[in-house]
């Protein structure tokens, strides 16, 4: 499915059209994929918070709200009594699509995340691992 090709599919008008998504669940782009054999472990979310100079040339997740997303995720997880690990990271390498959140184990990504999206993001992350939305 070439999701993200229309505003309706991507759930909002602010998702870049060139992004493709396997499972559009909100106003950001999501790639969720099965684990490969041998990959296991509790789920963890890593939020990119890298900050580059705001010079109009470089983009970075930190400048676009990475820290606020990490804090919102931690608050949301705590309010649900979840023990899911939430980390921040210097740079996940996909700055132009950020703010970026990686869900591991596996090759799972959320691009263009905003603090107001974290509840849906957490729902999707837990559902991907077959876990209940609350602890």
């Amino acid at each position: 499915m070439s999701a993200g090709s229309s505003d309706r599919e991507s759930g909002g008008g602010d998702t870049p059209r060139w992004l493709k998504s396997s499972k559009p669940i909100g106003p950001y782009t999501v790639f969720l994929r099965p684990l490969i054999p041998g990959e296991s472990g509790p789920p963890r979310l890593t939020v990119c918070v890298n900050r580059r100079p705001e010079n109009g040339i470089s983009v970075s997740c930190g400048v676009r709200g990475g820290d606020a997303i990490a804090e919102a995720l931690q608050r949301e997880a705590a309010s649900r009594g979840l023990a899911i690990e939430i980390n921040t990271f210097r740079c996940l390498g996909m700055c132009e699509k950020g703010p970026t959140v990686r869900l591991a184990p596996g090759n799972n990504w959320f691009f263009g995340v905003k603090p107001e999206n974290v509840a849906a993001l957490l729902d999707a992350a837990l559902a991907h691992f077959g876990l209940p939305p609350r602890g």
Partner: protein
């Protein structure tokens, strides 16, 4: 090859050459993923990867300097900025990230990593990269790295990263060098295949692409096999004791 393959058939033929030789198939990658590699093997991999990575900007700029198509030059420039600076991809140039991992994991100093003895196979791999950059048609030179080298690198980095974290206690922040290469979509690899299919439309060019894929995969196989040897020099201060 009497006639050029159609783009789809050409892409399938390239994929067939890569099958079974992907980075993620290599024994050392699987061993790290499964926690069976020794710390010396991983440290040595870090050292070798640094020495591979530090040449990438010059390989890219060699291709850039030969390219007369400004649109392609721009794409090369973007990758060069990714590789050599902190401006687009990663919190530092990729050689800096590779050095960071190598020193943290091996316990060697930057100077010790920089001056570490390199096996002949790695020297040949580096020579091969410059040769391709200098001598091959631009599309083939780009395809050499984009298809044979990078299109399946993200999966290996994912395996390495998970293994390092799970079995060797390496925190994510201490292995940005691998994590920054885990890709969130297939766009990167797809772009490389599309570019090569669009430009390599003659039998001669397609043969050159096959030659590059076969040779670069051989060098990569040697790279991973060398890592497996774990020939890490002890830190100088330790050796002196």
């Amino acid at each position: 090859m009497a006639e050029a393959l159609a783009p789809d058939a050409f892409k399938q033929a390239m994929l067939a050459r890569i099958a079974g030789k992907r980075h993620g198939d290599r024994a050392i990658v699987r061993a790290i993923f499964e926690g069976k590699a020794t710390r010396a093997q991983i440290g040595y991999l870090g050292v070798l990867f640094y020495h591979f990575t530090k040449h990438t900007p010059q390989v890219l700029s060699t291709i850039h300097s030969r390219c007369s198509d400004r649109k392609i030059r721009r794409r090369i420039m973007d990758v060069l900025i990714d590789e050599d600076t902190e401006l687009r991809c990663g919190s530092a140039g990729h050689d800096v990230l590779a050095m960071d991992f190598a020193t943290r994991f091996s316990g060697l100093t930057e100077a010790e990593v920089e001056n570490h003895a390199l096996p002949e196979a790695i020297g040949k791999m580096i020579d091969y990269r410059y040769k391709v950059a200098r001598e091959m048609p631009i599309a083939i030179a780009l395809g050499n790295s984009g298809i044979a080298g990078e299109s399946h690198f993200a999966d290996a980095c994912r395996l390495l990263s998970e293994g390092l974290r799970k079995h060797y206690g390496v925190k994510d922040e201490d292995q940005e060098s691998w994590i920054v290469h885990i890709e969130g979509d297939e766009e990167h690899g797809d772009n490389a295949f599309a570019a090569v299919c669009a430009h390599a439309t003659t039998p001669a060019l397609q043969e050159q692409m096959f030659w590059c894929i076969d040779n670069y995969l051989m060098h990569w196989a040697n790279f991973w096999a060398e890592s497996e040897k774990g020939a890490l020099a002890p830190p100088r201060r330790q050796a002196a004791e």
